[in-house]
C-alpha cells in the first residue's frame, strides 16, 4: 500500500476566495454568515446563510463557459485551479491518463433547476436553454475539472448528502493508496443558496433564524453555506521525488451506515466511523489532538456526536480539542467536509485550532473542549474530520503531519 499526501488545496466559501483568506478568517474567528441576497428571499422564513460574497464571474469565465457552468461548477473550478497551481503538477501523458477527479455534491446544479422551473412554471415559458441538463447534472463539476486540467483517469461524483465530500475524498484516497492512480483531484462543492434550495430546507424546521452555535446551550439549528474545497491527493514517494510541498498525509478513513433513521443521527454509526478511521490509519485514539466536528448546530447532531467521541476516545476525549467551523462558514452540505479539511490542515501545519464561534453557554450534553469563540495555538500531529449525513451515512478521514 502506498502513502498518500496532500500537495495542493483550494477553496472559495463565505470566509474567503482562497485557502489563505479562509485560514485567516478561521484564525480570527470571523463569521461569514449574513443576510441572504437573492430573488424572492422575502418569501423565506430563513433569511441567513454563508453566502459567497464579492464573487464576479465576469473575467473569470468566457461567455461559452458561463452558459455551461452552474454556480457549484464555478466554485469547483476556482478551487481546483488554486489547488492544482499550488501542487505545481501539469497533467500530461501517462500521468494524465491515470489521474482523475472524485468530487462530492449533494444537489449539483440546484440554482439551474430553480431558475428553469421558475421559467416554465411561474413565467409560463415553454422553452428552456439547451444546456440546462449538462449544467445541472451532479457530475458537471467533476467533468469540467477533468477537461480544464487534462485529467483522463477515473472521474465521477459522489452524492451522500452532508457527507458527500468526505466520501469522495475517501474514495480518492483509496485509489491513490492502492496504486490505481498516482494523483487524484478531490473534495466537493455545493450551491443551494437560492429560493428553492433554502425553501426545501426550511420545511424540515431544523434551520436557525439567527446563528449557527454548535455545542452551545440554546443552539437552535443549522445555517446553510455554499462554496467548494478541492485538494490534490498524491502518492507520497512521487511527491517527495519531485520536491513538492506536502500539506499533510491522509492516513486513513472509514465509512459506516447507521441503518436506522433517515434523519436522526446515531451514536453508534458515528463512533464506528471514527474508530474505523483510526484503525485504518494504524493510529491510537490518544494520538488525536483535534477533531473537526460535523457540528451542525442542531440539538440532535451535536449531542450525539459528543457522545460518540466520548465512547471512542474514553478519558482522552477530555484532552483533545473538537470544533465546528460551520459556525463561521455555514453548512456547505455536500461540500462541507472539503472546506472543513482546511481546518485540519491549519491545525497540523500552523498549529492553530479553528474555534467554534457563537458559543454562548456550555451544554452538559456537549461537555468537551469545543475551542469556544477564539482560535488556539496547539501542537497537533493527528486530526480527524467528521461528516455524518442524512440517510445515516458517515465518513471520517484521519490526517497527520508529515
Amino acid at each position: 500500500m502506498k502513502r498518500v499526501v496532500i500537495t495542493g488545496a483550494g477553496t472559495i466559501n463565505a470566509l474567503g476566495h482562497s485557502v489563505a483568506e479562509t485560514h485567516e478568517a478561521m484564525r480570527e474567528g470571523r463569521c461569514g454568515i449574513g443576510l441572504l441576497e437573492f430573488r424572492d428571499v422575502d418569501r423565506l422564513s430563513i433569511k441567513i446563510g454563508g453566502q459567497v460574497r464579492g464573487f464576479e464571474v465576469e473575467g473569470r469565465f468566457n461567455r461559452q463557459q458561463m452558459a455551461l457552468y452552474d454556480r457549484f461548477t464555478q466554485f469547483t473550478l476556482i478551487a481546483a485551479k488554486e489547488a492544482i497551481a499550488q501542487s505545481g503538477i501539469e497533467f500530461s501523458g501517462e500521468l494524465s491518463a491515470r489521474s482523475g477527479v472524485v468530487l462530492g455534491t449533494a444537489g449539483g446544479g440546484v440554482s439551474t433547476w430553480d431558475d428553469n422551473y421558475r421559467s416554465v412554471y411561474e413565467d409560463g415559458k415553454n422553452r428552456v436553454h439547451p444546456f440546462v441538463v449538462p449544467k445541472l447534472m451532479n457530475n458537471a463539476a467533476a467533468s469540467h475539472v477533468s477537461m480544464e486540467h487534462n485529467l483522463k483517469g477515473p472521474t465521477f461524483t459522489v452524492s451522500t448528502a452532508c457527507a458527500s465530500s468526505n466520501h469522495a475524498m475517501a474514495q480518492a484516497f483509496a485509489m491513490v493508496r492502492s496504486g490505481m492512480a498516482p494523483v487524484m483531484i478531490t473534495g466537493g462543492s455545493e450551491s443551494m443558496l437560492c429560493f428553492g434550495g433554502v425553501k426545501a430546507w426550511e420545511g424540515l424546521r431544523v434551520m436557525s433564524k439567527d446563528a449557527c452555535r454548535p455545542f452551545s446551550l440554546g443552539r437552535n439549528g443549522m445555517v446553510q453555506g455554499e462554496g467548494a474545497g478541492v485538494f490534490v491527493f498524491e502518492e507520497y514517494e512521487r511527491a517527495r521525488a519531485r520536491g513538492a510541498e506536502i500539506l499533510c498525509e491522509v492516513a486513513g478513513f472509514a465509512m459506516s451506515s447507521d441503518a436506522a433513521d433517515i434523519v436522526m443521527p446515531s451514536k453508534q454509526g458515528a463512533a464506528r466511523a471514527m474508530s474505523g478511521a483510526l484503525a485504518d490509519a494504524g493510529l491510537n485514539a490518544d494520538q488525536v489532538g483535534y477533531i473537526n466536528a460535523h457540528g451542525t448546530g442542531t440539538t440532535a447532531n451535536d449531542k450525539t456526536e459528543c457522545a460518540a467521541v466520548a465512547d471512542v476516545f474514553g478519558p482522552h476525549a477530555d484532552n483533545l480539542m473538537i470544533s465546528s467551523t460551520k459556525s463561521m462558514h455555514g453548512h456547505l452540505i455536500g461540500g462541507t467536509g472539503a472546506v472543513e479539511l482546511l481546518a485540519c490542515i491549519m491545525a497540523l501545519r500552523d498549529g492553530i485550532i479553528a474555534p467554534t464561534i457563537g458559543y454562548e453557554e456550555p451544554d452538559p450534553e456537549c461537555a468537551l473542549d469545543v475551542v469556544p469563540n477564539e482560535a488556539r495555538e496547539a501542537d497537533v500531529s493527528v486530526a480527524l474530520s467528521n461528516a455524518f449525513a442524512f440517510g445515516g451515512l458517515n465518513a471520517v478521514l484521519a490526517v497527520r503531519k508529515v
Binding site: R205, V206, N220, V263, M264
Partner: protein, 85 residues
Amino acid sequence: MSIRDKVIAIIAEQAVLDPSDVTLDSTLDDLGIDSLGLVESIFAIEEEFDISIPFNANAPSQNDFDISSVAAIIAGIEKLAKAQA
C-alpha cells in the same frame, strides 16, 4: 368539522390510529409520533388552516407553540387561527 376535530383527524392519520383513540390529554409520545412525524403533523395543520406555526424542531419544548398534549395543540391552533385570520 370544528378545529378540534380537524386537528384530531390529522394527528390520528399521522399516528395511524382511529380518531376516537386520540384523546385530548394524549401526548404525541403516547400516540407514537416521533420528531419526523411531529414536523409532518405541523405541516399538515398549517396547510389545513392556512396558518403559520412558530416551531423549530431543534427545541420543541422552547417554542412559543405548546405541543405537550393534543389539547394544548388545539388551543394553540385556535389562537393562531384567530390571530392570523
